[in-house]
Subunit: 451 residues, 2 copies
């Protein structure tokens, strides 16, 4: 934005009572509030006080079996983000919408509407649905296979972008004198006919403040990475170590360049799980408290899913039997998370109960349990050593963990010159330092012309 | 609610710059604001100051050709209503969602989410999509025929209601001590398999403040009326005269009773187009100003659609040729509106230009152009003479026409004891005087038990 020193981009991964799976049981959280607007209003106000770039809501189209022991997301992202648009003024608002069980016309329209309502602060986290259970809420057909989901996603995004651009920017005249509201010669059908969709267009919402909501992606499979390199402007990713994160960062920037884009137009934002304390001991004590609230039955369910082995019936207080660990090659999907846990099991031989507790917070993401300075140290290291353009912040519990981050870690980052002291832009694109959409369009046009 | 005198129920039909088709050209309106949240915030605050029961957004899934000369709706209803939920506290929020081009799981979830966000103020205006153009934004198949759309709508609503009731009211324990968040034995799949949908459920949103958002319907065909009598709790309807409205009112109440419901559980809310003036002359002058802003090309398009005859090329300043009028039987859909206009043409022999102007405001709904007392007189007459339980208010222009209604007509209604001076309830169900959902369920259960 300002041409000055490169700055961190910080997104709040807003998840119910926080990212520790037992956070809802902690005395400082209020799990019944996750369906109340005031709860989110309070969290969004905190995030905005911390000058965060954006907040983000994940989503799922099924009631998970784990709801027995873990708090739900609570609300549907579009309605919640729109409500938050009305009670915030600067922070970006990123919502998840699946390309597997939606129609592009509806999604194009809802994000366009959110972009108008928020004055250009909307972003779309593009996902494909990976849950078998979700499939059966939308018909009798099972989940499409992975590669097909991504083919559909590619076409879906193409249609949505075409709809967003179906109006020329100044086709809306609203000229009272002549009686011409819209110059329809400059609003064109998209006439899309592809393998998955037929959509005539144009969109029935005029061009939005950002031109295009910011596109975000979080898939880590080969298909997901290729997709992200082609269309995403920010990537949320789970990286368990600096080295892994550096490799991912290099790969994604290279892929973006290969796809004809600038490396700066694809922000890499690894997840960062934090437990903040004024002293390291205080942070560790809080982390221990949270871990001890973990429900073993839930942890067994979670690890069974990850290991693809039914762990119920195994002794909780005996070391995890090594023969339980599957071959790495058998793990599709959460491979990175699996490898991290597998290494820990081989190295430290924890009991099953210990393993459950030790994996109950960060879910394979980087984690720092420590003082504001320690957290800022890690963030600076990752940021300066080619592992991250910023972070997808995952507070242990909400709103307390976010309050600690905003009041203690953010000032530390600001004093190091790593993070803004005030918002400079108005739109999410501006916060993220992304070029305005018309510039992108113009450059793409120029690139095409020079071929 | 209070057992006192029967009171009017007033809903604001919130449509862009107002209900006169040329309202966007009037000096008092700001058509560019229809994509801005602050515009709607101002209107919602006015409506809440007037203690209105609810506000309502129509919707359409296509860019109409008429956008050349008429302002768009602007925003998508769910996002706008959710944003308004955050900046209002009492007024009900009714959104339109089509059963023709949506999935019941998404719709059940979005309304559940809106009901939580608003503290129990949500309502669903159930429509079937009647636009050929919309069909082609959702695939290559043409619009399903009328009766099929209603069969699908019936099954759609059945699925949505089942999803809303897939949780027993107290299945969510959120018990920190035991670690049980939800008692999944009391959250059940709906296992729906019908002609149009297969939905396993349960919903991934806990029970909402109202239990069920209020169901609204506006179809006036035989299929639409039968559907409304079976499932709707409020009906928005276009009735051009007291006599027609009385007949409709009697019919719908009788149909509700036939369907095994109480007549009180189906509110009849005819549309009421208003132009308010301190004197009748002032109101008529404003109405004339608006009519003169009508764009003839737009009016020709509108009448051509209604008459199913291409009117372009006919002389604007010659009397409408009677041979242009089709047989009444040829009109499917807007028959009531057609008959009203046909009678006027035969009786008064207006020119085409005059006809365009005289039909540019109320679109077949009842209209009162006059003083607050005159408007209140008509409302009282309809209310007391068995034609209405309240009204779907259609101000000529916004926000000015609503401000006049709230500041001048509402006090008149209040002083006559016809309308609340303060909100008494918190939820839309309470405003509308509808029974809580659990009571309905209990009574249905009792009725079944007594068979």
């Amino acid at each position: 934005m300002t041409g000055s020193k490169r700055q961190l981009h910080l997104n709040l991964f807003l998840m119910n009572t926080g990212h520790h799976e037992a956070s809802w049981r902690h005395p400082d959280t209020a799990p019944r509030r996750v369906t109340e607007l005031d709860y989110y209003r309070e969290i969004a106000a905190l995030a905005e006080r911390g000058k965060l770039d954006s907040l983000f809501l994940a989503d799922t189209y099924v009631l998970p079996e784990t709801a027995r022991h873990k708090v739900l997301h609570g609300l549907e992202p579009f309605t919640l983000l729109a409500a938050l648009a009305a009670v915030t003024s600067r922070i970006g608002l990123i919502g998840t919408a699946s390309t597997t069980y939606n129609e592009p016309y509806h999604i194009a329209r809802k994000f366009a509407s959110l972009d108008h309502l928020s004055g250009g602060r909307s972003g779309w986290n593009i996902v494909t649905t990976a849950s078998e259970g979700a499939a059966y809420n939308f018909g009798e057909r099972p989940l499409p296979e992975h590669a097909e989901r991504y083919r559909r996603a590619g076409e879906f995004v193409e249609v949505v972008k075409a709809l967003w651009h179906s109006w020329e920017p100044d086709a809306l005249l609203a000229d009272k004198a002549s009686g011409v509201y819209a110059e329809l010669e400059r609003v064109r059908p998209i006439a899309h006919r592809g393998d998955y969709f037929a959509v005539r267009g144009p969109l029935n919402v005029p061009p939005t403040p950002q031109g295009e909501p910011v596109l975000v992606q979080a898939g880590s499979s080969a298909d997901g990475r290729a997709f992200a390199a082609g269309v995403a402007e920010a990537v949320f990713t789970a990286q368990s170590s600096l080295e892994r994160a550096q490799a991912f960062y290099r790969e994604m920037k290279a892929r973006a360049v290969q796809a004809g884009r600038s490396a700066d137009e694809l922000l890499i934002l690894p997840g960062l799980y934090t437990v903040v304390g004024d002293t390291e001991a205080e942070a560790r004590e809080l982390a221990r408290e949270l871990d001890e609230l973990t429900v073993p039955a839930y942890g067994l369910q979670r690890l069974s899913t990850l290991f693809k082995v039914d762990l119920t019936g195994y002794a909780l207080d005996a070391p995890v039997p090594l023969e339980l660990l599957p071959e790495r090659e058998a793990i599709v999907g959460n491979r990175g998370r699996f490898e991290l846990i597998e290494e820990m099991v081989r190295r430290e031989r924890p009991t099953l109960r210990e393993l459950i507790r030790r994996t109950a917070g960060s879910r394979g993401h980087a984690a720092v349990i420590g003082t504001p300075a320690q957290i800022a140290d890690t963030m600076m290291r990752w940021f300066e050593d080619g592992a991250a353009d910023g972070f997808n912040l995952m507070p242990s519990h909400l709103p307390g963990g976010l309050r600690d981050f905003v009041d203690k870690v953010v000032p530390e980052l600001q004093s190091r010159g790593l993070f803004r002291a005030e918002y400079e832009g108005r739109t999410l694109r501006e916060h993220y330092g992304l070029p305005p959409v018309h510039t992108v369009r113009a450059r793409v046009g120029a690139a095409e012309a020079s071929r």
